[in-house]
Symmetry: D2
Subunit: 472 residues, 4 copies
């Protein structure tokens, strides 16, 4: 679909822009410089996801590309490396050839309590440089559950964690074509083992996502220097990982906006079909679902309206507090959304008849009669909504929501790390009469309490507080 | 399995008892009269579920049978009907022939905002009497997602709601063989479309549950009078439904004890395999999972230790507050259990390789190398635990947990209805100095505050509370 | 303070604007017409609250005034009444004399299950018209817990609920001076019975709020026609109440921003003072507190950036979804904020020594020695933060948070009422293959799935999904 | 009150037992040996708390005494110390003189990130031995917020944490009279600064608790050897602390049973008075409150019915899983209880008139008229319930609930530490086909799946699953 929308007259203006040669290129392959760019990026993602789950080959990869640009600038300025030029060169290559790309971040990790170089069985649990050659490097390792990889032309690889000096060979960023020698994709089993029309009926949301994730093996893959964007600069792994995370969470909020809209809508439709839309506890649950859905969407918008530049660079990144707040909102609430859908929909959200039953002419009349609900609603429509709920409440969606674009613990770490603690502490110090708030930009310049008009003495104004009682 | 355990030397003493003829009969087909009977019933259920999900053909049906006994006694005493004798007759039939039975409760319901006789499209959304004949009655309707129905010999049918007089034809309790003319079972699609060894590997929990639920059509089924246990006594629908609910929730807590134990254990194993078992937030989550698991189990036990008789009958029923508290604990927390398992297990809880990948000799070496985690743990063991988690966090388990044995709203209604409000209000009245608590059995006989020794006057004892401050 | 900030050189530009005569007037007494006006209104509130809880005599009243303007325009256009002119007249009176005003909304309500005119003991549980005279009306009733009333010059009264025709005498909007004959203020007891320096030390947040709320009795109060802004137009009670609610929730989010900032800061300071700032569960809690605080603030900002006009009027109102989402976020989470503060702060959050202990020279050395914590932090600073936490976690703040600016149930009703259900349902219908989404402005114009490029047939691409297993 | 109940004819049988000399002694001063003893202990606590908050001088102290007995036996058997005899000697002293006692556990702690001997400003942040003399020891330090200390005769001191060898001087257990030289009590400020009848009306729950907690300074206090029960045995601090914790949590659950009953009752009464008792969301909240209240009570009972002996001793202790589950249930839910009470009660839960207003004859008629609610309920009764709610939702109760008898983190640690992980892991291993469950006492002896009857092959039984669809 990534190639359909940019070529469609209604969406061309959104997805296509010009490079400096005046040639048409994909907007998502450009680097965002202004709030308007951020909003447009968000609009591309949102339109793609609402259309039906597209942009997958210009999302994770485009986010990785944007992160390479940020990290390259920082490394060049600190270490006089020449990464920026390489990244731009590569960006032009992608733009001119309009390639599909994805980002490969998550290493398989082995024992999480050990650093990459401390792992016991072997040292390849994190992707690493095994040899530096004249023309390039050789890498080995594996990246787990990488979305869109079967459809991509290019893989952009970067670290999923910060590194210490001992792990310098794991500080590694590069790009290779998916069909480079030594790259092996082990596709994940489909969400459901059904295909074609049957799958579309039974699992309408999973249907167009098969296949998607794969485990990618890098079995001594050669990468030429011009595609190497980090090579041992372990102090900068963090910047690369964080920049990617911020961009990719923006994509995440757009993806979830569509999913949450469908969930909230499905719950409201099944409530109506079942005849329970006016039951108070159902309305309360629906109100809550709408609240979460719109909060995710609004915080994502806020992240674009108020973006940040970091590390002295000119590239715009989503506001870190806002984008992590948006992501955390959906990750921490998705199971409650699922519970509400299942609660409102009833037992049929798991025992709803399937395509083979419904299409069976002997059985259909019974289903049609007995699984009807509100008069005027077709039984088939009710079944379709129940199938959608059954699909959306499956294991895949829950796990993807809490772990996609980073785990919940990662969100909490980001929220902790990006909160303005000085502002909060200044508020508390000022409120409790402790010094140290005076130089805070938000609280420091406010009027002192002494400058305010005092209230008159209290007790004279309210008779009821006065004596009668003998205060001992 | 229901027939294996009673015939196994280790379990015969638990499952087999004698009837008054001195013949061996299944214990679950007897009526509980003492706390010891309740505890034994619980033990049967628990052993069966821990063994692997059995007792299914002696659980819902046995609970329905117990409920028929309760309702029959009440109706006989109020209306001089002769149901008790019929139920006992039927009970003996089941005992002597050691038949497998299930209970069919949930009607398909149509538009939930309308009573049975108000439904628009047709009047069969709730199972009903369509004709009273000399030898028996003819019934029509459908019951949805009835567990164990494909394996049962007998179906015990009862109402799922209370009825008004206008709906007297829906106040209906009876039993028929599953193969009675006009009974049609439409099986629910299996949780997963895999079978045999592949299914056992990929979906170890769902595997032995296929097939289970079905939609049962009663297409003008004839029921002879000796199997009719309620026929139009609409005022007593509630008793029948409530008695069944109390018994069946006891089964539910036993079923969930095993499921929750497996969930909590799976989370703790994957934490260990991943090397995160000492991470504080992981331990906190595991502690919470153990807390929920044991609370469900202990409240279930409490329901048997402190059972109740109602309606002046001699049959023991589980304590209503305890059994509903147990059920509500798991129903309201299951999604959080799921979230914790997925959170601790990581993204592989959905993208874990499947049987066909693992058994593929070309692929296995890669998986074995890269999906290893903690040294000393076999990769296959890690994959098996992840498959278990993937299976247990699927849609079926969530829905079954919140809707099986009654919805969450039903629990709340029961908790509200069975709480001792007089005791609570007496506590508040006494505490706030309002009259009306004196006749409460718990709070009424306690000493009055005036009978207690008064504290000495306060201010003399603490210097620090005294003057310095100029109280204005 | 409301009169200090506008007269302070640093803040004059924010709080003071010109009327059409070119005279200086208070900005909060003007009607917002643009997003910029909304943002400025928000800035006034935020600066006032961060400074120390001011704007109280230009918040609820100013919000009521804005609501009068909206309702007057609607009534005039529908009923050809002349309310708009009266409201403007009154607005000019307030502007020219720079009066302090408050809004009186909440009736005492009596039995909540009965409409105003159905109340049993008397008919005055909701403020009502008892007589229509030539020059004006006479009103009777009472308004409960009205903030800032002791400091205000003017009271703006409006209904707190929608009305049916039978309750037309309760559909009533007007303004009177606080000292009008028959108006009686019964002040609420102060949060704490301490004053002056002792209060400032012991209850630093409550200190400058005493006295605040009062129960206002209207004992046959005469209101001249030129101050009557609704008189029996029962169909429009809802508009008046809703318009007020939207404006006032904007104030609420600004008020809570300061409170939440102080809470979050206090928790982070006491964590540091106690030496637990690096304990993982503490950081997780702090991250969550920052997340809630900033989400409230960002959603409030969003409500101004994307305001709405309703009823065809030119006055801007805060975006209803955003402002209610912001309010609901703090109302539903405040008790968790409190729990986290108390959890992190420890038992001393209630047993912290008070002013009289600390200032007692015999006791201070012991306290100073034993209640010290982290080296380098003054014991007094620790005590002050603990006093702030003790104060902020008291009953008043919790109740004010959940009930101030409308109860949680009211939020849920608003969230339900203002959600874009058509959008959500269109998402679900499109996703599940049901018709009816095609005319939705968000989902309707998107490309059809058929227009997208199809995935290639699945099975050929993944060896691992292919046979080995004997699919039966 | 502790001396009233044992001397009251109705309660003498419960509180008074005989020692081996045949003399009457207080039952709570004996050591529990059987489940019946545990249930009686629980009954004493529950009756005391429901009567009005008594047993305070036989609860924490009695729990400390019981813990001394446990630790003494263990130390004597391991180290051949003679503590058991000393403890029994002291127990007889208490019994014969019927003394009031309390336990002093919580040290002031200083910087929580440092061990006792690492503290910076001084070494007295944890109570410690400063000198070992011929006749006894000299101790220095302070214990924070110790309940009931102003009313007690004796103080039983024990450590609040486990110790390493470097902190051996902090491993310290002993008893002293409250009036021993060097012991100083700094009383905590009362919950409210009101006394006598006014306090009883305004703060009915806090009233009879003033004064209660104090900060106890041990300023070089001499303790004779016969009252020293641990002196440097750092390896056994944990046993002493844990034994105390288990006993004291039993008291905690009895205390909370009464508090929760009053809270739930107050919520249900104010719902009725306000006329909202049939509003669905109110009933849902009330059902939840009853559920929590009874769950706490039932789990506490379970802890007595299924007690444990540990360390090879004959003394019974509450079941550790059950008692911590009970405590965790109330600690983690108390803020939600508070929210529900405030939500149902409305804004008046903070702005309810106080005694001075109500007793003021000029004001009372207005209050009586306007704050009436449901017809037939006295306004004063409504005010009293609102005052109770205002009191119970204050800061003190929340903090006491989450920190009293140990913090939430301590509960989680206990729950983690006492859970039967082997059982849970056996369940998961068995379910997923991993070895290692065979030797588990719960899961190990169950039948193997192979011993069960297999289901028939699947596909033949359900037409609907069969072909029509052209499987890929």
């Amino acid at each position: 679909m990534d190639y359909v929308l940019p070529n469609h007259p209604d969406y061309r203006h959104l997805f296509v822009t010009k490079d400096k040669d005046g040639e048409d290129i994909h907007f998502l392959l450009t680097s965002p410089k202004t709030p308007e760019d951020m909003l447009r990026r968000r609009e591309c993602y949102t339109v793609g996801m609402r259309t039906g789950g597209g942009v997958l080959v210009h999302c994770m990869g485009a986010d990785a590309l944007a992160a390479f640009s940020v990290a390259a600038q920082v490394m060049d300025s600190k270490l006089r490396t020449g990464y920026t030029e390489r990244v731009e060169q590569y960006r032009r290559h992608l733009q001119k050839n309009d390639l599909a790309l994805t980002g490969a971040i998550t290493d398989v990790k082995g024992d999480r309590s050990l650093h990459p170089s401390q792992q016991k069985q072997h040292k390849d649990f994190y992707l690493r440089i095994v040899e530096r050659q004249k023309d390039g490097i050789v890498v080995r390792g594996a990246k787990a559950h990488i979305s869109a990889s079967p459809c991509a032309n290019e893989l952009l690889c970067l670290p999923c964690r910060t590194h210490g000096e001992a792990d310098r060979d794991y500080a590694l960023g590069f790009a290779v074509p998916v069909n480079a020698p030594g790259v092996k994709l082990l596709g994940v089993e489909p969400n459901v083992r059904l295909y074609d029309e049957e799958c579309e009926f039974d699992y309408p949301a999973s249907h167009h996502m098969q296949p998607s994730e794969s485990l990618i093996i890098f079995d001594n893959v050669f990468v030429p220097w011009e595609r190497v964007f980090m090579c041992g600069e372990w102090q900068f792994s963090q910047i690369l990982a964080y920049a990617f995370a911020s961009y990719h969470r923006l994509f995440g909020t757009c993806k979830m906006t569509e999913t949450l809209e469908a969930m909230t809508g499905a719950a409201s439709l099944i409530a109506e079909y079942n005849g329970v839309q006016n039951v108070p506890h159902v309305r309360k649950k629906l109100a809550w679902m709408a609240y979460i859905t719109e909060t995710v969407q609004m915080l994502g918008k806020q992240a674009c309206l108020d973006p940040m530049t970091e590390f002295g660079m000119d590239v715009m990144m989503p506001n870190r507090v806002a984008i992590n707040a948006s992501k955390f909102t959906y990750a921490s609430n998705i199971h409650q959304m699922v519970q509400h859908m299942q609660d409102i929909g009833g037992g049929l959200t798991t025992t709803v008849p399937c395509y083979r039953d419904w299409k069976n002419p002997e059985i259909q009349p019974y289903i049609d009669k007995y699984l009807a609900a509100k008069d005027g609603v077709k039984t088939e429509d009710r079944i379709r909504i129940l199938r959608l709920i059954k699909d959306l409440t499956g294991n895949h969606w829950e796990v993807d929501t809490i772990h996609g674009e980073g785990s919940m613990a990662a969100q909490e770490m980001f929220l902790y790390g990006s909160a303005d603690w000085k502002k909060f502490q200044a508020a508390a110090k000022r409120a409790s009469g402790i010094g140290g708030w005076q130089d805070n930009p938000v609280y420091g310049h406010l009027l002192l309490r002494d400058e305010l008009v005092k209230m008159p003495p209290v007790d004279t104004s309210y008779k009821s507080i006065l004596p009668p009682a003998k205060k001992q």
